[in-house]
């Protein structure tokens, strides 16, 4: 199952690299990764989309927490949250295809950001499955190039102010519900 994990990291040299190194070194799946500033000047937010069973997910979150540069790690998957991705899609134009592409663009509430005699570039924003759908529909027209930003995500409602990470309580809570009786 796909999981979206939000990671607050120190905004300095190497923090991003450390996380990328962790994923490659441990052989964790990495579907997308994005990084940008937050409301706090020395903290960045990384949004990681990854895949794996519960045990792997548990490891990914604990390993992320273990890094000295990570301040908070949250698996958003089970939480009420919004996800957005942005795609730039460059499509080749042939006779008469312009109208059709424009229509599709309207349906997906995209923007036309560049146009030449032979090509048109549209910008689509939305949850990743909306972008997948748009790409599917546009494919037959001839997609010349595409760039996707990777997902950014936030929980809905009030933002959690707590930024200190806690290594143990979450996993303890989870585990104590699973306690078996001694055989």
């Amino acid at each position: 199952m796909k999981h979206t994990i939000s990671v607050l990291v120190e905004n300095h040299f190497g923090a991003f690299d450390r996380i990328a190194t962790l994923f490659s070194g441990k052989g964790f799946n990495l579907t997308s990764i994005s990084i940008g500033e937050t409301e706090i000047h020395d903290i960045s937010r990384m949004t990681v989309v990854t895949e794996g069973d519960n045990q792997i997910l548990d490891q990914i979150i604990k390993q992320l927490n273990r890094l000295i540069d990570t301040i908070k790690v949250v698996d958003l998957t089970a939480a009420y949250h919004v996800q957005r991705e942005l795609a730039l899609i460059k499509i080749s134009l042939s006779k008469g295809s312009m109208e059709q592409v424009k229509n599709i663009n309207d349906i997906f509430r995209g923007n036309i950001v560049d146009i030449t005699n032979n090509s048109i570039t549209i910008e689509i924003t939305g949850p990743p499955d909306k972008i997948d759908a748009a790409v599917n529909v546009l494919m037959p027209f001839g997609v010349i190039e595409m760039a996707r930003s990777g997902i950014v995500a936030l929980t809905r409602g009030e933002q959690t102010k707590k930024t200190i990470k806690n290594n143990s309580s979450e996993s303890i809570k989870k585990k104590s519900q699973l306690i078996k009786e001694p055989k």
Binding site: V9, G14, Q59, K62, I179
Partner: protein, 574 residues
């Protein structure tokens, strides 16, 4: 107004920080990028710099120092090749959770990225093998970074930290401020165990029919050996130890089952296979311990105490995780025990296994064997020596036959399995431990991997007894070739190409002996043990083709444990 004396150069700040961190020894090797530091070092009397002959040696020495003393080991090397030579040692320290801080020189900041002379991206190279690492970008950050480095290396689950020091940072000046308190918002090791979890664990142990304590290096690192002994003795619990755990509990104690795992004792492995409550204390379910994880302690309710949350459920899913410092948790667990478990039958069963298949080796053909040598070293030192082994068959035999009395006495490369560890690590130990015998035990192969450090030993007159177990083979590899690779002894026979080890020792100015006669072992050990002010070397020429038993094949189950040679062609050698 600023106090003028507080303006210092980077080099001065560096050593002032080390002084405040109570560093007494640095293992290092100079070069261009750290010349300013060595210039300052020349006038410093509050710490001793030990000049090694290869930077890998410096790191292993610092590891030995740290493992034996519990203090943080410190390394200082130059940029580029000096830095890259530390990589194996850093990886070794990472795998075995050894607290060390490695300072590397770096080219001046403005040249970083230019392929400057002796430039290497050591921060990038060591990112996956350090607990954390830093590139100091300005002199204002220097003191705080050093402070953080020592804190991170030594707290929580210990590990190596690397600090990269560009030449211009060391050469510039700034006001010296040593932070008294320091907080790292992303780093808060959990020390105190969750009391409800501890209560549950205590209850499970008290009600167990066949409990077993599975003890790893974490108990030694936390300083919890005494607490472990109390807990085990009060409840008469059997104790088995991992390679790194040896010494956490006295090997001669009747509750000790010795080592478990691939080359563990028959009875320890049977106990793991049959226990109903397994209590892992500061161990990490390494594959050399578990073999096949699906069948490891398959019927046991598993309790796992560890300071590192990532260790929990990584290899084996457990029933009660307790995150925190194992020493504290042992104290609380002892207090929470409602009663001692009733396990006489279990002990009866364990003792039956002991009789069924005791540790034994051939000793009546007059030929010298490693097991005998180790047994004699154990007897002569009453289990009180610090034993620093290398990697291979001799390492496993030492683990099986040396009866460690004290924690921090078994210094070995477990996680990474680094040949060449023993010689430099034992030198490091000698700067931390005074008044106890120190043995470096290497194979003929591994001894040659950091052989250059013999001159460090000679120059500093370290009282280390260098033992070479010479079986004329890369023995452990030969063992796998015999057992699993069709007896194709591909590139493991050193008999025609080994040097004369006595002459080697003598060339380094070390008194050296050699024997292949079991009758001479004791007298040679006596002779060596009588020397207390300089190194001694003894080569023991042992049987070439012995195998380490018992053996659970890699990834196998306890049911596949082999206890003696099965190949009929080879049986004749037994």
């Amino acid at each position: 107004m600023k106090n003028k004396e507080q303006i210092m150069t980077g080099a001065e700040i560096f050593f002032e920080c080390l002084r405040r961190e109570k560093v007494e020894h640095i293992f290092g090797f100079p070069g261009g990028a750290v010349l300013k530091l060595y210039e300052k070092l020349y006038d410093i009397d509050y710490l001793q710099h030990i000049l090694v002959r290869h930077e890998q040696g410096a790191v292993h020495a610092a590891e030995g120092y740290a493992k034996a003393s519990g203090k943080t080991g410190v390394v200082l090397v130059t940029s580029g090749p000096g830095a890259t030579n530390t990589v194996t040692g850093i990886a070794d320290a990472y795998m075995d959770s050894v607290p060390i801080v490695v300072f590397t020189g770096q080219v001046p900041s403005h040249l970083i990225g230019n392929d400057a002379f002796q430039e290497a991206d050591i921060v990038g190279i060591t990112r996956p093998i350090t607990k954390h690492n830093f590139l100091v970008r300005s002199i204002e950050d220097l003191a705080l970074t050093i402070r953080k480095a020592f804190y991170i290396a030594s707290s929580g689950r210990p590990g190596p930290v690397l600090v990269d020091l560009p030449k211009d940072v060391i050469n510039s000046k700034c006001e010296f401020i040593y932070p008294d308190n320091m907080e790292i918002r992303g780093y808060k090791p959990t020390i105190k165990g969750h009391i409800n979890q501890i209560k549950k664990a205590a209850e499970a142990i008290a009600n167990a029919k066949r409990p077993l304590l599975y003890v790893g290096g974490g108990v030694i690192m936390s300083g919890g050996s005494r607490e472990l002994a109390l807990f085990a003795r009060e409840n008469k619990l059997p104790v088995t130890m991992t390679l790194q755990g040896l010494g956490a509990f006295p090997g001669t104690d009747e509750l000790s089952l010795g080592m478990l795992g691939m080359h563990g004792s028959y009875w320890a492995n049977q106990a793991v296979d049959n226990c109903d409550v397994l209590v892992s204390l500061g161990a990490r379910f390494d594959d050399r311990v578990t073999g096949n994880v699906d069948t490891f302690a398959k019927n046991a309710y598993k309790i796992h105490v560890d300071i590192d949350p990532t260790c929990i459920d990584k290899n084996v899913i457990v029933d009660i995780p307790i995150i925190g410092d194992v020493k504290n948790i042992l104290v609380e667990m002892t207090a929470e025990m409602p009663k001692a478990p009733d396990i006489q039958d279990w002990w009866h069963q364990i003792n039956e296994w002991k009789d069924e298949c005791p540790m034994q080796y051939e000793d009546n053909d007059g030929r010298l064997r490693t097991e005998y040598v180790i047994e004699k070293i154990s007897e002569k030192t009453n289990g009180n020596a610090v034993i620093v082994t290398d990697v291979g068959q001799h390492q496993m035999w030492t683990a099986q036959y040396y009866k460690y009395n004290f924690p921090r006495s078994n210094i070995t490369s477990g996680g990474l399995g680094t040949m060449g560890f023993s010689v430099p690590a034992s030198i490091g130990v000698s700067f931390a431990i005074k008044g106890r015998p120190i043995f470096s035990i290497s194979g003929d192969g591994g001894f040659q991997m950091n052989i250059q450090e013999l001159i460090t030993a000679a120059a500093y007159k370290v009282p280390v007894i260098f033992v070479i177990i010479n079986n004329s083979f890369l023995g452990m590899v030969r063992q796998w070739q015999e057992m699993f690779h069709g007896e194709k002894y591909s590139f493991t026979d050193l008999s025609a190409s080994n040097p004369d080890f006595v002459k080697v020792g003598q060339a380094f100015g070390i008194e050296s002996f050699s024997t292949d006669n079991p009758k001479e072992v004791e007298s040679l050990l006596d002779k060596a043990l009588a020397v207390k002010d300089r190194p001694v070397l003894i080569e023991f020429k042992v049987v070439k083709d012995d195998l380490v038993f018992p053996m659970v094949p890699s990834g196998g189950s306890i049911s596949e444990m082999m206890v003696k040679r099965i190949n009929s062609k080879r049986m004749t050698l037994l």
